[in-house]
């Protein structure tokens, strides 16, 4: 962004040395080389790997492009590296953050390279889930105290002699290993390694109406495809998850937040103002996510559909 004007004038490789030959070059102030091509104003948004985040970005992108005349680049980055990228200005905004106290302290409070962008309007919650068809047959499975009774049914080749508790992407917050140990459960945590793998496996289980226990989170479009019921864990109390090895309580409910790169927040003009005002509901997000992930619309088509039906909501973001 900052070197935009000079860049356009000196596209020739020959001027590389002149530009970089002397003086300090702060890496943390360099934009993406694909930004601002052909003289358009570009906003770079970080998309995390889950579909809810894609839905936020799709709608923001659609409005930025069609209502405000920006060009939007999206980059998919994991959560923690995204903070790093945001502080360096490689991306301009994160639209959905599930709470990273350590990074918040470092970048927002100490270095001041990242600015809070307000709440997204969606509340996130992580928990353990069983499919609703199974919970209806065995209503007592929804309490953690009875989980051991069903360990046999949840067994897979991968979990060996124990029941399988399926965890997802390594980038997600999880206390599951500690929970299983501290609650004395006869379960083995199996890491699916990516959300895509986890979703695919859940769908395959659901197709055969097999019982399973999985780490999952709401809001998530998959609930519409595979209805799932949460298993009650010991209630969450402030600070009960302070020591990662001794956690024995449920996950909290987190209001999801937006974060902006500080420079972008200051000088990002209409785009920055728009992103700060961007705020919608869980239902809105799910509607778009479902169109992307289940009806296989492109994010752009899904965003267009939502934008056409909810003009009153997004008009407020543009004023």
């Amino acid at each position: 962004m900052r070197i935009r004007t000079r860049l356009c004038a000196t596209a020739a490789v020959g001027s590389l040395l002149l530009l970089t030959g002397c003086g300090a070059a702060d890496m943390t102030k360099q934009a993406s080389p694909f930004a601002n091509a052909q003289g358009s104003k570009t906003v770079t948004l970080s998309v995390q790997s889950w579909v809810g985040a894609q839905a936020n970005v799709a709608v923001a992108q659609y409005l930025l492009e069609h209502e405000l005349g920006y060009r939007v680049d999206t980059v998919q980055v994991d959560e923690v590296p995204a903070w790093d990228a945001l502080s360096q200005g490689r991306v301009d905004a994160i639209l959905e953050d599930w709470g990273h106290p350590e990074q918040e302290k470092r970048y927002v409070d100490d270095k001041k390279t990242i600015t809070r962008g307000g709440e997204l309007g969606v509340t996130g919650h992580i928990g353990w889930y069983v499919p609703t068809y199974f919970a209806q047959q065995h209503p007592d499975v929804t309490n953690w105290k009875n989980l051991n009774k069903y360990a046999d049914l949840m067994r897979t080749a991968e979990s060996g002699g124990k029941g399988q508790l399926m965890d997802g992407s390594p980038s997600y917050v999880t206390n599951d290993k500690a929970l299983v140990a501290n609650l004395d459960l006869d379960y083995q945590v199996v890491f699916a390694g990516s959300e895509a793998a986890q979703i695919t496996q859940i769908k395959q289980f659901a197709k055969e109406k097999k019982p399973f226990l999985t780490y999952w989170y709401a809001p998530q479009w998959l609930f519409k495809k595979v209805p799932m019921t949460e298993v009650k864990l010991p209630a969450y109390k402030e600070g009960c998850d302070a020591d990662p090895d001794k956690v024995a309580c449920a996950y909290p409910h987190t209001p999801l937040e937006k974060y902006l790169n500080s420079d972008f927040a200051r000088s990002g003009g209409k785009a920055a103002a728009f992103l700060k005002k961007f705020r919608w509901t869980t239902e809105d997000q799910n509607e778009v996510s479902l169109m992307i992930a289940d009806q296989k619309l492109t994010p752009e088509q899904a965003a267009k559909k939502w934008v056409e039906g909810h003009e009153s909501t997004w008009r407020a973001w543009l004023s």
């Binding site: 860049l7 596209a11 020739a12 490789v13 590389l16 530009l19 970089t20 300090a24 070059a25 702060d26 890496m27 943390t28 102030k29 360099q30 934009a31 993406s32 080389p33 694909f34 091509a37 998309v47 790997s49 894609q54 680049d73 999206t74 980059v75 998919q76 994991d78 959560e79 923690v80 590296p81 995204a82 790093d84 990228a85 360096q88 490689r90 897979t156 080749a157 991968e158 399926m166 390594p170 980038s171 199996v190 890491f191 699916a192 390694g193 990516s194 959300e195 895509a196 793998a197 986890q198 695919t200 496996q201 769908k203 395959q204 197709k207 055969e208 992307i292 992930a293 296989k296 492109t298």
Partner: protein
């Protein structure tokens, strides 16, 4: 992608068998002395805690220091900052030129270059490839990837050629470089990402640098090989004509090494392209990013739409650079031809510009995602379970896990640590020299010292299972292809596609078929390693002396006898190379396997990258490298080391 070295057929001398007994005896003696000592001191089967070094603290401190000082410390401001800046500017410059040329201009330029270098057929292929990219709606991402590739390949070639020049001209440097390049050969691409990201942050500079580190070694290796292989007599003649060392280098040695240099370019391009997708994990953008985003919404069709341009780019670039390596046209008419080609490309670009058709028109795109997804859904729905008699793929996966993977893993972890080391030493010594055995044992011990002994054995069990499956299928297919020209021709495009298709594309089908866990991880590894094994096997069998074949069939041998008693023994070196390549390639996918539930080291690397946790990621990455070195030494016959294969 795999470089294939040709061996002269060689039979196993009887002396070697004596030597093998000798070696084993010595080893047994050493074991008899050392094992009771080790056992007395550290009891228990797993690697003793007393012998591990915990790197968590220093690594975490280092990573915090880098993050805190990245925008103030002079090292970053005056060195890394400029490197990063130069990369950003270079990629941007190429990208802007590509956009300014428009789709017509880029396609025309690509086609004309292909025509000059490799003839009309490839030129048509290039046009088809570029048009397909646009047609799939991937024009802009393709250009982003192309811009990144151009810069990365150029930098790799410069770095690689300089290193190769040094290695080619100085024996001492060559000796110093070889182990480094050997190590880089077995380093999985993913392992480069974490340290690079830490220093340069997410984005294009980190992606380009990771690509350069990954893609430069083959260039260095082949440059050195080419310079060293120059005909002594020619060099003598040049010197006797009174040429200085520099003249000799420029006029004789480098032109004589042309073939190796172009092969190096070819390999570098292929490696760089395969990195293009993996680098999307650290924000490289372009096609890789599209594949990665499609993965997130479990959309195989969309991933394929972005994967096809990568495959096409790879195939076109491979064929064109390959043809350049073989072609030998005289210089004069070529120059004017180039001129015409350039003018024509320029004219088409300007015409496209004047017609206002710079961007690929949206109306000309087609969406393949939906039909592809339907096909994949249908396939997985019908194969997953309940297939009569043979059972579904999910049942196979479960059986494979229960009957193969679990016993293998439990067996390996049950073995006392010193016996694993002994086993490694014995295998490596039998097949190689005492030096290779020593290296193998040391790197295996390093895994223990790093404190990841158990996960490493878990990973090892998956690798062994995957290699076994790959070899069974690969040898069978390779033998069949060697006996039928038609089958070989039919297989070639299939192998091309599987070798270049980004692994992210087939992760979802693999999970949909085999569930989550180690079985799909093994399946993904088999799919990736199979093409190279099939290729090397086929080539090895085909190179068996025709006379030997002829005489055996005149003696009335049946085709089965011929295969078993003539072809396979004579192709033994090639088969060993296939084993070695299979091992190295399977190991390269271990981290990808972590994405589908492979767990162990692969998952740890992914975890480290996702959480910015240098300690976990780097240690696991280093352990994978150690495993790779160990397996390479254990499967690498001595001939290859002395022959200086590529």
């Amino acid at each position: 992608m795999a470089a294939i070295t040709v061996f002269s057929p060689r039979t196993l001398p009887a002396v070697l068998k004596h030597r093998a007994v000798h070696k084993l005896g010595l080893l047994a003696l050493a074991a008899a002395v050392l094992v009771p000592l080790a056992n007395a001191r550290w009891t228990g089967g797993a690697w003793p805690d007393a012998l591990t070094v915990d790197l968590t603290k220093p690594l975490t401190e280092a990573s915090t220091w880098i993050v805190d000082n990245r925008d103030t410390h002079p090292l970053f401001l005056y060195f890394f900052g400029h490197v990063s800046n130069a990369i950003v500017l270079a990629v941007r410059a190429v990208y802007l030129v590509l956009l300014a040329a428009g789709w017509a201009g880029v396609t025309a330029l690509g086609a004309l270059v292909a025509w000059r270098v490799a003839g009309l057929r490839l030129a048509l292929g290039t046009v088809a490839a570029f048009l397909t990219c646009g047609w799939l709606g991937m024009w802009v991402p393709t250009m982003q990837t192309l811009a990144l590739m151009v810069v990365a390949v150029a930098a790799s070639v410069v770095v690689g050629a300089l290193l190769g020049l040094a290695g080619g001209l100085s024996d001492r440097l060559n000796r110093a470089l070889r182990p480094v390049l050997d190590t880089m050969q077995v380093l999985p691409a993913y392992a480069y990402l974490l340290p690079v990201v830490l220093v340069f942050g997410m984005g294009v500079p980190a992606a380009v640098l990771a690509t350069v580190v990954y893609a430069a070694p083959p260039m260095a290796r082949l440059t050195a090989l080419g310079l060293r292989g120059a005909d002594k007599e020619v060099l003598e003649a040049v010197r006797s004509l009174g040429a200085t060392a520099r003249q000799g280098l420029l006029t004789a040695r480098i032109p004589l090494a042309r073939k190796e240099l172009l092969l190096g370019l070819n390999q570098t391009i292929m490696m760089a392209l395969s990195m293009a997708v993996i680098a999307s994990v650290i924000g490289a953008g372009g096609l890789g990013d599209r594949v990665y985003q499609a993965l997130a919404s479990v959309d195989v069709g969309a991933a394929l739409a972005a994967g096809i341009p990568i495959v096409l780019l790879a195939v076109v670039l491979d064929r064109v650079t390959g043809a350049a390596g073989n072609g030998s046209t005289s210089a004069e008419p070529r120059r004017t031809g180039w001129l015409y080609a350039l003018v024509a490309a320029l004219a088409i670009a300007v015409a496209g510009r004047l017609m206002g058709r710079l961007d690929w028109p949206d109306a000309w795109t087609v969406r393949i995602a939906e039909p592809v997804n339907r096909a994949v859904d249908w396939m997985t729905a019908h194969l997953y379970s309940g297939v009569p008699v043979i059972g579904g793929t999910a049942d196979w996966a479960a059986h494979f896990t229960t009957w193969v993977l679990n016993p293998l893993r439990d067996g390996l972890t049950w073995l006392p640590w010193w016996s694993v080391l002994l086993l490694v030493a014995a295998l490596a010594w039998l097949i190689g020299t005492w030096q290779t055995a020593l290296t193998a044992v040391l790197v295996m011990a390093a895994i223990g010292v790093l404190g990841v002994w158990t996960p490493a054995l878990d990973t090892l069990s998956q690798v062994l299972a995957a290699v076994a499956v790959t070899l069974v299928i690969g040898f069978a297919t390779g033998i069949a292809a060697a006996r039928s020209d038609r089958l070989e021709r039919a297989l070639r495009p299939v192998l091309d596609v599987f070798q270049t298709m980004p692994q992210f594309v087939y992760l979802i089908p693999v999970v949909a078929l085999f569930g989550v866990g180690r079985a799909p991880a093994v399946a993904a590894a088999v799919v990736y390693a199979l093409p190279a094994v099939v290729r090397i096997t086929t080539q090895g069998l085909r190179q068996v002396d025709a006379a030997a074949m002829e005489s055996s069939s005149s003696l009335g041998a049946t085709s089965w006898q011929q295969l078993r008693q003539v072809q396979l023994p004579l192709a033994r070196p090639a088969l060993l190379l296939a084993v070695n390549q299979g091992v190295v390639l399977v190991l390269a996918v271990v981290i990808i396997g972590g994405l589908v539930g492979g767990g162990a080291l692969g998952y740890d690397v992914v975890f480290g990258l996702a959480q910015g946790d240098l300690a976990t990621g780097l240690v696991a990455g280093a352990a994978i490298v150690c495993l790779g070195l160990m397996l390479d030494r254990v499967t690498q016959p001595t001939e290859r080391r002395t022959k200086k294969g590529a």
